[in-house]
């Protein structure tokens, strides 16, 4: 999927993550802040990158502010931001396919 315009999903509430995405320069750039960085920093980064890979996103700039979100929430926020950036988030989502 191609990131066409900046988009965001999620909030800064506890247990949530705010994900902001914009078109990239041919690679994935991730800036991550987390309230549980020491213990889950690597896992959070891995989850975000895996999700992007499943969605076939190869070029993007992401800024993620995590407030202790679980993996399922992180995935949901990243996916929503990606689909919103292509104006494709309202219908025909590949549930169980690229989104899983």
């Amino acid at each position: 999927m191609e990131i066409k315009k900046p988009a965001a999903a999620g909030t800064l509430e506890s247990s949530d993550a705010q994900v902001m995405i914009e078109p990239g320069d041919g690679k994935i750039e991730l800036s991550l802040q987390s309230s549980v960085m020491n213990q889950y920093g690597h896992q959070i980064k891995a989850t975000i990158l895996e999700t992007l890979e499943r969605l076939d996103v190869t070029s993007a700039k992401l800024t993620v502010v995590d407030k202790g979100a679980l993996d399922c929430t992180l995935k949901a926020r990243v996916e929503c931001a990606v689909f919103r950036s292509c104006d494709a988030s309202e219908s025909n989502i590949p549930w169980g396919g690229a989104v899983r």
């Binding site: 247990s15 993996d71 399922c72 949901a76 929503c80």
Partner: protein
């Protein structure tokens, strides 16, 4: 991925608790409070411009959270919105046990949703017929068409009344003795029983009014409701208490079932228990009582 057990059309639904599908902090373990069903809400609890985000959250919540024995129903947006079709897709793909049709007014509404659900089941490789349906009646028209709605599909497991919207249409306000909703409740109950499905009462929103809440729950039980919708875990305990069978009812049910097993093995179809005439018509009720008693932690045994 947590595999979910197959949804059951007829099961214990004393308490059905609403949860906002968008609140990550809440839904991950809503089931620990022990309600029978939870209802993840894509409708009124989610802002208009966040419906898309709520679906992603819902999908992952359905797939990763372990709900144990608690049933998971999703309230989708009304048929008059542009959202409901994608809502149906995500519910089926995510493996929700059932879909609650908001603002249901006619049998056609049920059939429209059913068609979309079936299409989604085929699309996502889900066993056709697996996803159940329930209808929320929120308007006078809905109440008038209650029976046809209840009978509209094999997937229909129950019907509920939604007091907030209903009272607005009827130009009335919550009354202490329930008279504002009395007829609507009664009509819906009759329709549900005639169609053979379950019936649930509306939420009680004033969390500070314990007396009013308890009075309403007692009236619900007396009128014959199967359960009640809730908005807060602290309401669960009282509803479970009220809808639990009494000691007397349990003992009676035990006697009936034990006697029935004995007698029917000997080829006898009608017999007396404590001076009352019992035949096969009493058995489903006795079984239901004991199942309910077991679920309430009041009885253990292998009669049922």
């Amino acid at each position: 991925m947590i595999p979910r057990p197959r949804p059951e059309r007829f099961r214990l639904r004393r308490t059905m608790m609403f949860m906002n599908a968008q609140k990550p902090g809440l839904i991950k373990d809503a089931y620990i409070y022990g309600c029978d069903s939870i209802m993840l809400d894509l409708e009124d609890a989610v802002a208009e411009n966040q419906k898309d985000a709520a679906r992603f959250s819902l999908y992952h919540a359905l797939k990763t959270v372990d709900y144990g024995d608690t049933e998971v129903i999703v309230r989708i947006n009304g048929l008059d919105t542009p959202h409901w079709q994608e809502d149906v897709r995500v519910c089926v793909a995510g493996g929700a046990d059932g879909i609650r049709i908001a603002k249901c007014e006619s049998a056609q509404d049920v059939k429209t949703v059913e068609a979309a659900v079936e299409a989604a089941e085929k699309e996502f490789g889900v066993e056709v017929g697996r996803t159940l349906l329930m209808a929320a009646l929120e308007s006078p028209k809905g109440i008038m068409n209650a029976y046809e709605i209840c009978a509209a599909s094999e997937r229909m497991f129950g019907v509920a009344i939604s007091g907030g919207d209903f009272r607005k249409c009827m130009q009335t306000t919550p009354q202490r003795d329930g008279v504002d909703m009395l007829v609507a409740r009664g009509q819906m109950l009759i329709a549900a029983r005639a169609a053979g499905i379950q019936c649930f009462d509306t939420v009680f929103t004033n969390l500070d009014d314990t007396e009013g809440f308890e009075a309403e729950v007692l009236q619900n039980k007396a009128m014959g409701f199967d359960g009640k919708s809730l908005i807060n875990p602290k309401q669960i305990r009282f509803v479970h208490q009220v809808f639990a069978p009494t000691e007397k009812e349990i003992m009676q049910a035990e006697k009936i079932l034990a006697a029935y097993r004995e007698q029917s093995a000997a080829g006898v179809g009608v017999f007396t228990v404590d001076g009352k005439m019992i035949d096969i018509a009493f058995i489903p009720g006795a079984e239901r009582t004991l199942k309910l008693a077991r679920a309430c932690g009041m009885w253990e045994g292998d009669l049922v």
